[in-house]
Each structure stands twice: as C-alpha cells, then as structure tokens.
C-alpha cells in the first residue's frame, strides 16, 4: 500500500473514531470490565437501555473498560456535547432513572457525581477540549464541580500503559486509532527492525512481569537466534493472587497489546504471536478475540499488514489453572498441551522456545508500553522514572485500603504515596504492612513504606515488582499471611523437583504448628534453613522465591512469631485458639453483628449488652472480624 493510501485509511478510521468518542448530544458510557460487572454494571447498563426508551431520551449508550477507580464501580460516564464528561460512581440500576430524568430536565444530576473531565489529553494524539468541542447543548451544571485532575486518585498518576482504559470502547478499532493507536506500527514498518530493537533497548524498558530483564536485550537475542520460524508470546497468565492490572489492560485496551506484539513480531522476525491467557479471565478472552478479528478485517493483523510484506497472526490460548505456568518454560509446555512443568534453562526460550523455536515472552504491560515508546521515542520514556527503572508501573492496589483500584505511577514514586495519597490510606485499623510481589515477594513494614518503587530498591528489601499491592491493616496476622502464601506454594508446586515439592510442605507444617500454638523457638531456625535450601536448590522461580514471604515476615515481624511461640498468643486475633475475645462494653454500640456470626453460639444478649461465654467460645475470631467499631479485642488466654 502506498503511504498516501495508508494515510487516507488512517484518517478515515480516525474520523469515525472521533465521531463515536465525541458524538453529538449525550453519550452514556458504563464501565464494563470484570470488576464493574461484579459490582453490577451489567444490570446498570441494561437499565439505562430500558430507561432511555421509557423516558424517550436521545443518547448513545456505550461500554468502556476499567478506569482504575474500581472502588466506585459501577462507574458511569455522561458526556454532554460542549459541556464535558461527568463521572458518576456506584450507579446501581436503582439510580439510573433519577440520573436520566435529571438529564431530561436539562440538569446534570449531582447525586453520586464524582468529578468532571473538561479535556482529554491522549498520550499519542492531540488534546481534545470537550468544553469547546462543539456548539453544545444547554444543561444546568451544579457549581463547584471538581475536575478529574484535582481528585487525589488521579492527580499523581501518569497513564501510559493504561492510557485508553476507561476512555475508549475496548473493541472499537476506530476509537483506538483516534487516540493515536497504530501510529507506532505504521512508523515501525518503515523502520529497520534493528533500529526498533535499538529504540526499545535505549528506552530502558524492563520486563514488567517482575524479573526486570531488559526488553530490548530479549528482543535482540530472539532476533539473533537462528531459525525461520519464531514466536512472540504475551504472558497473560496473571496468576499472582491479589493482582489484576493485566486483566484491566487486556479488557480495557486490547489493541495496545496487539499493536505492541505486532511491532515486536516485525522487529524480531516472528510470524506468529500467542497470548497465553489464564482461564479465569473469560471476558478478556472474548474481548481479545473480537479485537483480533477487527484488526485482521482492517489489515492491522494477518497477511500483508498495511499492504506490505510483513504478515503476522495472533492467537489467544487459554491456560488451565496452574500458577507455575506463568514461568516461561512451563508456559511453553502448557501451550504445547503438556503438563506445565518448568525445565532447566539454558537453553533460554529466546533460543529454543515454543516447538523448539526462538520465542520472545513478554508480560502484558511490557507489550502495552511498546507502541508509545516507538511513537514518542526512547528519550521520552527514559526521562520518566529512576536511574535503573524507567517509565511507569501499573499496580492493582487492594486489601485494607479505602480506594482500591488500578493505578499507574512513574517509577520512583514512594509506595506510601500510592497507599495513602492515591488510594486514600488503610482505613480505621491503621497500616501494618504492604505486601508486594505475591507468593514470591515480601512485606514492607511501615518503616519502609516510603521507599520508591523500583526494581533495584524493592529487591534490596525482599519485595518484588511483578504483582500488585496488598495493603494489610493492623488487624492482620503476619504468621497467618506467611501461612497463606505457603499454602499457595504447596498447592501450586508442580512437584517436579524435590526441594520445592517437599520443602514447601515442611515449611507449611512448621508454620501451621506456630499458628496453632505448637511452635517452639527452634522452628524459626529450621524455617530459615529450609528457606535457604529452597532458594538455591529449586528448579524454577516458583520454588526459588516461595520462601520470600516467610523470610520477609520473619525479618520485619519477628515479635509476632515470638508471641505465637512463647506466649501462645496471636496479637491480631486471627489464629484460632491463640487468643480470647473481650467485648469492650463502653464502646460497644449493641449492633449485635457478633452474635449472628459467632460460629458456636457463644455470644448472647443480656441486660448490659452482649456477653461472651468463655467456655463455649472456640476462638474463631469471626466477631473481631465483623465488629464495625473495633469494640471486640483479642486478649491473651491467661489474662
């Protein structure tokens, strides 16, 4: 295809995209990622459809992905021509009619209104000032509306990998192009493949899966490897429990990953791309497949991309629920339909990967960074972040935090800023620790929580970058958390190598002893020895990093382990049998929740409030957990 023809094609798509992004009149968009749907967004969407026809109101109804503000789901965006985009939170089916009648009466309803967007600034395109966009329709707007940029949740974020999520219709290729999408591919196809790899190398991009291998170097190795057939793979087996940022990107902006992979395929000389997606993400699978189909229809994928010589296909292959398949050699075995057992490296997949051919495996986020890096250049990307960690990082932030969600921040941002500044802090119990890196990561105690996000810094304190952030309040027990991760490792260990298979079991047995009051001081020493053995003798990353959470908990929260061992007391009131409960009558508000959740009917109502029968109490702790005002406290058995 001639460059002129290509430009014309892009312009046509762009025009269509802008028209559907900023249509005339009113556009109502519902956030329909998995987190939105679980919060009830599908019913909200349905009700909007019904309401528009019932009230005879003219408006376009569309879907979008995840904006990141998952706490406020279901999110609804109302774009009013010439006025702005209004973002509403927690819109259930019951709120829909009030919203629509407000609009019908020429008013912007105030109920549940979070903020207003006056201007969209697409990273890869020009700014769009919604207020001045067109003639506009007259609607009354409540005074003093906060701009989205003033909301603490968004003010400190920098969106690169999540640039389009929550803004465009995920499966609209036109809207993706209107936001500057596929410009990078157009540019890349005119570049020498070596130059593309050089750009990625110079950008300083490192693998966002956690290991932090320089992406450009991996691409270089794959390109250098001999063989006509090569593969690029997107590792979308986001198995780390407590993390979902990859899902958010796949469901919110699938084309960015497809474009990144296509550029990678061209640069490395691969003909086929595979997205290895975990089975637990059915919505991401259908969105990706639809996006692939549309990209093929428009010539951005398939034979002779943009009319040139390069052909590239992408297939989505679903996993079958095995955490170890996030490890690259196990992932390859799984794609080949075998048991997902890792094999020793070298040879590395870049040399001998899928079907014995050179294979480059990158994480979802890593692929999503590729188009902006090619479009805006390596210097732009390098200018963001710290010395050894460039660009931004996407995290899901969950657990004991006021505003859980998906955030993207420049590398170097203090973790405390994410937890307290962006996500509103840990809530009533106060902060105890932040868990980073999943089953292979560790815990950051309050004293370290202000350290900046970077590969090098986190490695030093025993945490990792790959997974999300799980915030732990003071009411969480670190022995129990260590136990949780070891249970996970035992269940997910593939069983191929002995250190991991038997070592994780033994560590679990000791941790159970401690959590159930049978621990002895010598156990701590054995835990350390076993952890070291696992670290050095296991075959793959799962076993090598499985002891990390335990080591980290022991390092920063040793006194809690000691309390369990020496005093048979769980200070957080989590480990069954290692505490008694006491109701603080002075603070109790007599709500009665504790009586309902008691697993052994040990709580009864008396004239003076609620009473616990110490003989019947089995120490399950349900009452501590449910009490809304922290009036039930754990005390030592002998106190």
């Amino acid at each position: 295809m001639e460059q002129d023809t290509i430009s014309a094609k892009y312009n046509e798509l762009k025009e269509k995209g802008l028209l559907s992004l900023y249509p005339k009149g009113i556009k109502i968009t519902v956030g329909m990622s998995t987190c939105g749907i679980v919060a009830g967004a599908d019913k909200t969407y349905e009700t909007f459809g019904q309401g528009l026809s019932d009230l005879n109101l003219e408006a376009r109804l569309t879907k979008t992905g995840c904006l990141g503000l998952c706490e406020e789901e279901p999110l609804v965006y109302i774009l009013v021509e010439g006025k702005g985009r209004y973002i509403y939170g927690r819109i259930g089916p019951g709120d829909v009619y009030a919203l629509l009648s407000g609009l019908k009466n020429k008013k912007i309803p105030k109920q549940n209104l979070l903020c207003k967007v006056r201007e969209d600034k697409p990273l890869l395109g020009g700014a769009v000032n919604i207020e001045e966009l067109k003639q506009g329709i007259e609607l009354f707007e409540p005074p003093g509306l906060q701009d989205i940029k003033a909301l603490p949740f968004f003010a400190r974020q920098m969106k690169i990998a999540t640039r389009n999520s929550g803004l465009i219709d995920p499966i609209s290729l036109e809207e993706y192009v209107a936001m500057g999408g596929y410009e990078a591919l157009k540019k890349a196809l005119l570049m020498d493949p070596e130059d593309i790899i050089e750009t990625v190398m110079l950008s300083g991009l490192r693998g966002r899966g956690g290991a932090g291998f320089p992406t450009g170097a991996k691409w270089h190795l794959t390109r250098q490897s001999e063989g006509k057939e090569k593969y690029v793979i997107c590792n979308a087996d986001e198995g780390n429990p407590g993390a979902y940022m990859d899902r958010s990107i796949l469901e919110g902006d699938p084309f960015s990953v497809l474009e990144g992979m296509t550029i990678g395929g061209y640069a490395m000389g691969a003909q086929k791309g595979i997205i290895y997606l975990r089975e637990e993400y059915p919505l991401a699978a259908s969105i990706l497949n639809e996006a692939i189909k549309r990209a093929m229809d428009q010539g951005f994928l398939g034979e002779h991309i943009l009319g040139g010589d390069f052909s590239f296909h992408i297939e989505v292959i679903k996993g079958h629920r095995a955490y170890v398949c996030g490890e690259e050699t196990a992932l390859i075995a799984s794609i080949e339909g075998k048991m997902g057992e890792p094999r020793p490296r070298p040879p590395f997949p870049t040399e001998k990967g899928l079907h014995g051919r050179p294979t480059c495996i990158n994480n979802v986020q890593t692929w999503a960074y590729v188009p902006p890096i090619i479009a805006l250049g390596h210097e732009w990307f390098r200018s963001i972040g710290t010395e050894y960690s460039k660009g931004t990082k996407v995290f899901s932030v969950v657990g004991d935090v006021q505003k859980s969600g998906v955030v993207e921040i420049p590398m170097g941002t203090p973790i405390g800023d994410i937890v307290n500044g962006i996500c509103g802090g840990p809530g009533p119990w106060g902060l105890k620790a932040v868990e980073m890196g999943g089953p292979g990561g560790g815990f950051l105690p309050v004293s370290l929580v202000n350290m900046p996000v970077s590969y090098e810094g986190l490695l030093e304190v025993g945490a990792a970058l790959g997974a999300g952030l799980v915030v732990l309040g003071q009411n969480r027990c670190m022995v129990d958390m260590a136990l949780h991760f070891m249970e996970f490792a035992v269940k997910e260990s593939c069983g191929k190598c002995l250190p991991c298979r038997e070592g994780t079991l033994e560590i679990l047995r000791i941790l159970r002893d401690i959590a159930e009051g049978r621990g002895v001081l010598a156990d701590l020493r054995v835990l350390e020895d076993l952890s070291t053995a696992l670290k050095y003798a296991s075959l793959c990353g799962l076993g090598q990093t499985a002891p990390n959470p335990i080591m980290s908990a022991l390092k920063y929260f040793k006194e809690e382990f000691l309390a369990h061992i020496s005093h048979k007391f769980c200070p957080a009131g989590v480990c069954k049998g290692l505490f008694r409960v006491k109701i603080d009558r002075y603070n109790c508000n007599n709500c009665g929740e504790c009586m309902i959740v008691c697993s052994n009917q040990a709580i009864s109502k008396t004239n003076n409030g609620y009473d616990i029968d110490v003989i019947k109490c089995n120490g399950c702790g349900n009452c501590i957990y449910i009490c809304p005002i922290k009036a039930i406290k754990p005390i030592r058995n002998e106190d």
Binding site: A39, C70, K338, S599
Partner: protein, 153 residues
Amino acid sequence: MGISEEIRNKFKGLTSEERSRPATLLKRVQAEYGYVPEDALEVIAGLTGLPLSQIKGVATFYASFSLRPRGTHVIQICQGTACHVKGAKRLKERLESLLNTETGQTTEDGIITLEEVRCIGCCNRAPVVVVDGRTKGRINIRELEPLIRDLRD
C-alpha cells in the same frame, strides 16, 4: 451409546494441530460433561497417540479438570491474597460447616460442590465467591446461609 463412543464421535474431524494438544481436548470434554470421565482419558490417549499416563498427568496437573462428577451447583470460594485478607478462610470454614462437606467435595445429596480458586482477579471486590460461574463480590459471612438455601430450592 457409551461415553467413549460419544466422545470419539464428537472428536471426529479434528485437525492435526488440535489433536496435538491433549489439554484442549480435555477442556472440551469437561465443558460437555462437567467433568472428565475416566473413559475420556483413554479416548484422548488414542487420538493424540500419547500414553495414557501422560494424559492422566495433564488431567491431574491442572486445577481446571475434575475427574469426578460435580454437583448440580458449584460454589467456588476465592482464596487469593486480597480475599484472604478480607476473611476468605472464615467464609470457607463457614461454607464447609453449612454444607457439611470439605472443600473439593460434593454434598451428600449431590447438589452442591464446594471448590476453592486461587484468584479470579476481582480483588477489589474481595472476598468473592463464584456461584455457577457468576462472581459475587464483597460477600458477608451472613449471606452464605441464604445463598445455599437459594441453591437448594
């Protein structure tokens, strides 16, 4: 018609690439029957030309596949980190005692199977349970009893 024959008929006309992936074939059987019957393993071994041990290895390696029939309804309780922090273990124990069964088992009447999943990526709605494929977020321990009652009705 026996199960073996039924499955063999369903797999007629597979491409050679499809035949080379036993896990994909297992997934199709599971989608059809809700579990992987013993007979299916032999049929798949025959189709792929792989030893039965290897097929059984794949079927038992992945958490996706169940070699036992499941109940009419399946409750999956998420045990991911965010759910764990939000009390998923308590929910699991409560479900086990309400159903009088252990996780991974089906109730005596064959109606409800209780399973655990590692993480389904809905962490901001923790704790979550998946009931017959539909995810329910922010589950309160008190909601479990009515939930089971509804399933049994």
